[in-house]
Amino acid sequence: MTNRIGMEVSLMVSEAVKLANVDVIAAYPITPQTHIVEHLSELVADGELDAEYICVESEHSAMSACAGSSAAGARTYTATASQGLQLMSEILYAVAPMRLPVVMTVANRTVSAPLTIWNDHSDIMANRDCGWIMIFVENGQEDFDQTICAFRIAEDRRVLLPVIVNMDGFILSHVIEPFEPVDQKTVDSFLPPFDPIYTMHPDRPVTMGAFTMPEIFTETKMAHDVALRESEAVIKEVWEEWGKLTGRHYTAVEEYMTDDAATVFVTIGSFSELGMEVVDAMRQKGVKVGLVKIRLFRPFPTEDILSALTKFKNVLVIERFLALGGVCGPLAEQIKAAMYKLKDTPNIVDFVCGLSGRDVPPEEFFGMYETAINAIKDGTVKEFYLWGVRE
C-alpha cells in the first residue's frame, strides 16, 4: 500500500488528470476550480505532462475546444464552476449526444445573483438533464479516484459519454486532506488509450453534429437516453475493477449504519462525510439513524435507491439547491418520483440548506431531525424546508 500524503484536493484532481495522461486541457479559470487548471498548467509547462494546454477566452470556448479535441480522438479534460458552467451549457448539450467522452470537474458553486463564490449545487442542477454522466464525491481521495475512473467510464465503447465529477467548491477544493496516490503503472493498466469509434480524420471523413429532421430527432434522443441508462452497469463494472486494484470500493448508492435504522439522512457530495459524523454522534445518544449517500446522480440509480430507501420509515433528504418556484429540491423530487408507483413509501422530508456555502454544523442536522420527526408525528410535513432562514 502506498503512503498517505497531504495535498490540497484541487491538486489531487490535477495529479489524477496527469496520471490519466490527457492529451488536451482547455482551461478558463473560475473560482473555485482555478487551482486545478493552474496546477495542470504548471505540470504541462514543466514537461511533466505532455498535453496541449489551450487557454481560451471563456468557458463557452473551453467546452467548444474540448468538443473539437475529443472529436479528433484526444483524451480531453476541463474544469469549471458556477457561471462558467452556465456559459458552457449550450455546448454541454452538444457534446453528450455527439458521444464525446470529455471529462470535467465541476467545483460546485452558487450561480449569481447576488454574486457569491461559495458552494451549493445550483450550477450543476441547472444542467442536470444535459445528458452527461454525473458523479458526486465526498472527499479528496474519492475525487482523485473518481477522476481517473471517469476517463475509463467515458471512453468505454459501450458508454462514450462525457462525465462530470462534482466536488463541493472550497469545502473540498481548497482543503488539504490526506490521500493515497496511485502509481502510473497501476493507472496505465487500468486506463487503456482512448480508442474512439469515429474521429475527425481526413482519411476517413465523417460529419459530427449534423442537422437532423423531425422524422429522426426523437430516435436520436432515445439512443442517447438508452446509452446513458445503460452506462450504469459499466460504471459499476469500472468501480469494481478499481476496487480490486486499489482496495477502495465505490457504489452508486452507499449506506452507513442503516441495518437497524428507522430514519436515514440522504446526502450527496461533501454532506455525506459530515452526515456520517452526525450519525455516529446521534447513535451515541441512542437515536437509531443511518445515512444513505448518493454518489451517482446521472444516470439516476433508481433501482439501487429504491432498494436502499424503502426499508426505512423516515427519509430526510439534505440538499444544497433551492428549486425556485418548484415543489422541492431536485434530489427529493427524483426520490419521490422514483417511489411514486410503490404502495408503502417512507415519509420523505426535504431540507434545503448550506446555500452559498452557509455553514451546516452537526447541530443543524439534529435540528433537522427533530423538525422532521415532529412534523411527521403531527402530519404537518411541508414539501420542503428552507433550513435556517431567518423569519
Binding site: M98, Y198, P205, V206, A210, I216
Partner: protein, 112 residues
C-alpha cells in the same frame, strides 16, 4: 442513407449520429421546400456563369446543348452549354435571379 429517414429506428443510428458516409447529403432533396422556381430565358442568357457561382445549394447545372442566340447587333452567337436549375435541390431562394447580369432568370410560382 440506405433508406428513407422516417424508416430508421433508434437502434439503426450510428453512435453519436455520426454521418459516416461522405457526400450523402445528395440524397436530401432540399427542392421540396420551394414555393418559387427559377425559369431561364435562354435567348437572353450570356453564359457568364454568375448564377451558377452564386447558387448557395449548388443546384444550378451546366448542361451541354447547342443554342444559337441573336445579339443586339444582329450577330449570331453559338453556345455549346446552358444553365438550368436541378429542381430536386433548388430551394427557390431567388439568389440566381437577383444576381443574374442580364435579368434573364424569372422566379415563377411553384404549382404542383
Amino acid at each position: 442513407m440506405a433508406k428513407p429517414m422516417d424508416q430508421y429506428t433508434w437502434k439503426d443510428l450510428t453512435v453519436g449520429n455520426v454521418v459516416d458516409e461522405p457526400g450523402n447529403s445528395i440524397e436530401y432533396h432540399t427542392g421540396d421546400w420551394k414555393s418559387q422556381r427559377p425559369q431561364w430565358n435562354q435567348e437572353k442568357c450570356i453564359r457568364c456563369g454568375v448564377c451558377w457561382n452564386f447558387c448557395p445549394d449548388n443546384a444550378i447545372e451546366k448542361r451541354a446543348g447547342e443554342f444559337i442566340v441573336t445579339a443586339k447587333d444582329g450577330r449570331k452567337i453559338k453556345y455549346d452549354h446552358y444553365f438550368v436549375a436541378d429542381l430536386e435541390y433548388c430551394k427557390g431562394c431567388g439568389i440566381c435571379a437577383h444576381e443574374c447580369i442580364t435579368g434573364c432568370i424569372e422566379m415563377i410560382e411553384e404549382v404542383d
